[in-house]
Subunit: 357 residues, 2 copies
C-alpha cells in the first residue's frame, strides 16, 4: 500500500482517487485555496459537488493549510490543477519537497517562455522549484482521452503516463492501474504533453463547425449535418499537430494514437472547448465569447495564444515556413485579434504539400 | 465544360453530381443493374430516393443498358459503386474503354489477392480491364471524410483525390472543386486507399463502445457516458492504422490527416458501421448482427476479413510480429470466428512499444 497526496480537488485530480482507492492506497485529497467549498463538502457529506459522486471510502480530504500534514510520508504527489495553477503548485510544493519526490501532473497546457517558445507543464512546474531540488525530483504527466466523470464512474479509460524516467513510469503504473484504468507508458514527455495541449487548441476549430451549422439553420430538410466539415477540420488538425509536435521536440508517433487523436476525439464529444468554438462559429468574436462564458477556464484558447507566440520565432529560426500551419494561424487570428471565424479554405488548400501528404 | 459519366447511382456516386453540375459540366448518371428504381425516380420526378433531394438540373439519368451512349464523348468516368461492385465495374467498362480514359472511384475497401495480400480498389478494378488497356487508363480515387448527403446539401467537405498520375490529379481537381467541395491531392494512392478501407474496419471497434454503454445500463446517475472508451479505441485504431498502411506500402503521413483520422471521425458519427459495432457491443455474435442488419453492405466487416487474411502472410514474411496489431486481431476474431466483443485490454497493453509510442 502506498500513500498518495493529490493537490487540487478539481474534477480530474479528484477522479484519480477512484483507481487509487480501489487499489487499496491511502489517498489524501488536498484542495487548493480555490477548493475550500469542495473540501468542506467532501468532509461533511463525502460528496464531490462537481463530480456529483460520493468519494471513495479510503480518501481523506484536507484543506490547503493542512498541506504539510498531507505530504507527511507520502509516496507520490499528484498535481491536480489546471494550467493556470501550475506556477502555484510549484511555488507551494517547493519548500515542502524532498530529494527523490515523485510528482505526476494531470494538467494539459502549454506556456510560452519569456522569449516565446512553448513549454510543457512539467518543465514550467520544475522552474518554480528550488534550484537545489529541480534535478532531484521526478516529474511525470498523464495524456490520452479521459473525462474525469467517467473515470470516477469506473468507466474504461485508456491513458498514457509519460516521464523522462522510465523506472518511475513502471512504478506509477503499478500504483494507478486497475481493471478499468488502462495505462500505456511513453518516455516522450514532450510529445505526449504537446498533444495534450494542442488537442485543446484544435478542438476549438472542430467546435466552430457546430456553430456554423446552427448559423446556417441547422440540419437541412434532407437531414444533412456538418459532420463533413467537423471531420475535415479534425483531420487537418492532426496533420498540423504532427508538425507542431516535431517543432517542439517531441516524437510525432503519439499524434496518431491516444495522446493526439484519442484525446482530441473525446474532447470533441463536448465541453467548454467545443462550446467556445460553437460561439465563434455563431459569429461572436472571441472577446464576446469569453464574456458569455464568464468564469470558465478556456484552456484551448490559452494554448492557441501560446502557440501563436511561437510561430514567428520558429520562422525567424528557419524552422517553419511563413504559410505552414494555416489552421493554427487562423485560430491565432480568431483568438488574439478577434478575427471572424470564417474557415480559410483557400489558405488551407495552399498548404497541400506541407500538411496533407 | 466537360462531360462526366457517373456509373453507379448510389448515394456517393450521385452526390458528386452537385459539385459537377454547379461547375457547369454535363453530368450523365448511369444506374447499375441494382439501381433501376433510382434511375426511374430520377427520370420521373428528378428525385433521388436515398438522398431525398432533387438532382441538379444538368444531370441526365441513364439505365445501365444505355451505358455505351452515356460513355460517348465523356471526359471523366466516376466509378460510383461499393467494394462489392468493383469487379462488375471493371468487367462492364472494360470492353467500352479507350486508351487515355480517366476513371475516378469513390469505393472504399480492400480485397485480398489469391494469396491473401490486401489490394486497393483501383488495382482490383484495373485487373478486370483488358490487358491491352490496363496500363493506358488512368485510375484515381477519393479519400477523406465525406458523407454523401452532406455533399449533396452543398455542405463544406474536405477530401483527398489520389492517383499515381499527378497531372491527372490537377485536371480532376479543376473539374470537381467548388466553394464547398475542397480537394487536396496526394500521389500516395496506396496510403489514401488503405486509410479509406481501414477506417471502416476500425470504426467497428469504436462502435462497440456504444453497445457496451447500453449493455451497462446507459449513462449513469452522475452523467458518465463511455466516451473515454470510444476515444481510447479511436486512438489505438490510428496507431495500428499507421502500422498497417506501412505494411501495405503506403505512407503513414495520411493517417494523421484527412484520409485516416478525418475519415474515421466522420464514420464514427453514425451509420451502418457504428450500428454493427453497437450490436456486437450489446452481445450479439457477428452472425447474429448480420442477420439483424439484413441487406446492409457491411464494408467495415469486409475490410476486417481481408486484413485478417493478410496477417499470417506478413508474419511468415517476417514483416509483422505475432502479437502486433492486437485491436485488428481482436476484430478479426469477432468477425471471422464469432468471438464475443470483449475488449482485450491486457493484449492491447502488451503492445506498448509496437503501437503506442
Amino acid at each position: 500500500m502506498s500513500t498518495i497526496t493529490i493537490l487540487g480537488a478539481g474534477l480530474m485530480g479528484t477522479a484519480l482517487s477512484w483507481p487509487l482507492a480501489d487499489n487499496g492506497h491511502r489517498v489524501r485529497l488536498v484542495g487548493t485555496h480555490l477548493d475550500g467549498e469542495i473540501i468542506r463538502s467532501c468532509l461533511e457529506s463525502r460528496t464531490h459537488p462537481g463530480l456529483r459522486r460520493r468519494i471513495p471510502d479510503g480518501v481523506q480530504p484536507y484543506y490547503v493549510a493542512q498541506l504539510p500534514d498531507a505530504l507527511d510520508g507520502t509516496d507520490v504527489i499528484v498535481s491536480g490543477v489546471n494550467s493556470l495553477g501550475v506556477h502555484w503548485i510549484g511555488r507551494t510544493l517547493g519548500p515542502l519537497l524532498w530529494p527523490g519526490a515523485l510528482i505526476i501532473g494531470v494538467t494539459k497546457g502549454l506556456e510560452a517562455s519569456e522569449v516565446g517558445n512553448p513549454r510543457i507543464m512539467p518543465d514550467v512546474l520544475a522552474d518554480e522549484l528550488p534550484a537545489s531540488l529541480r534535478d532531484r525530483v521526478t516529474l511525470a504527466a498523464i495524456g490520452g482521452p479521459c473525462i474525469a466523470g467517467e473515470l470516477a464512474g469506473r468507466r474504461h479509460s485508456c491513458v498514457v503516463f509519460t516521464s523522462r524516467d522510465s523506472g518511475a513510469l513502471e512504478c506509477l503504473r503499478a500504483i494507478f492501474a486497475t481493471a478499468y484504468y488502462h495505462i500505456w507508458l511513453s518516455t516522450d514527455l514532450i510529445g505526449v504533453e504537446a498533444c495534450a495541449a494542442l488537442k485543446n487548441a484544435y478542438t476549438v476549430a472542430v467546435g466552430i463547425a457546430g456553430g456554423l451549422l446552427e448559423r446556417a439553420g441547422g440540419i437541412d430538410e434532407a437531414g444533412a449535418h456538418m459532420h463533413n466539415l467537423a471531420a475535415g477540420l479534425f483531420g487537418i488538425s492532426l496533420a498540423e499537430m504532427t508538425r507542431l509536435v516535431s517543432l517542439m521536440g517531441g516524437k510525432p508517433e503519439n499524434v496518431a494514437g491516444l495522446p493526439g487523436a484519442g484525446d482530441q476525439y473525446v474532447t470533441c464529444a463536448g465541453g467548454r472547448t467545443v462550446r467556445l468554438g460553437r460561439l465563434l462559429g455563431l459569429g461572436r468574436t472571441y472577446t464576446q465569447a469569453v464574456a458569455e462564458m464568464e468564469g470558465e477556464t478556456l484552456e484551448g484558447a490559452y494554448a492557441i495564444q501560446q502557440v501563436a507566440r511561437a510561430l514567428p520565432i520558429w520562422e525567424s529560426e528557419g524552422l517553419l515556413g511563413s504559410t505552414e500551419l494555416p489552421l493554427m494561424r487562423f485560430l491565432g487570428r480568431v483568438i488574439t485579434e478577434d478575427a471572424p471565424a470564417v474557415i480559410p479554405f483557400e489558405t488551407l488548400l495552399e498548404e497541400v504539400g506541407a500538411t496533407i501528404n
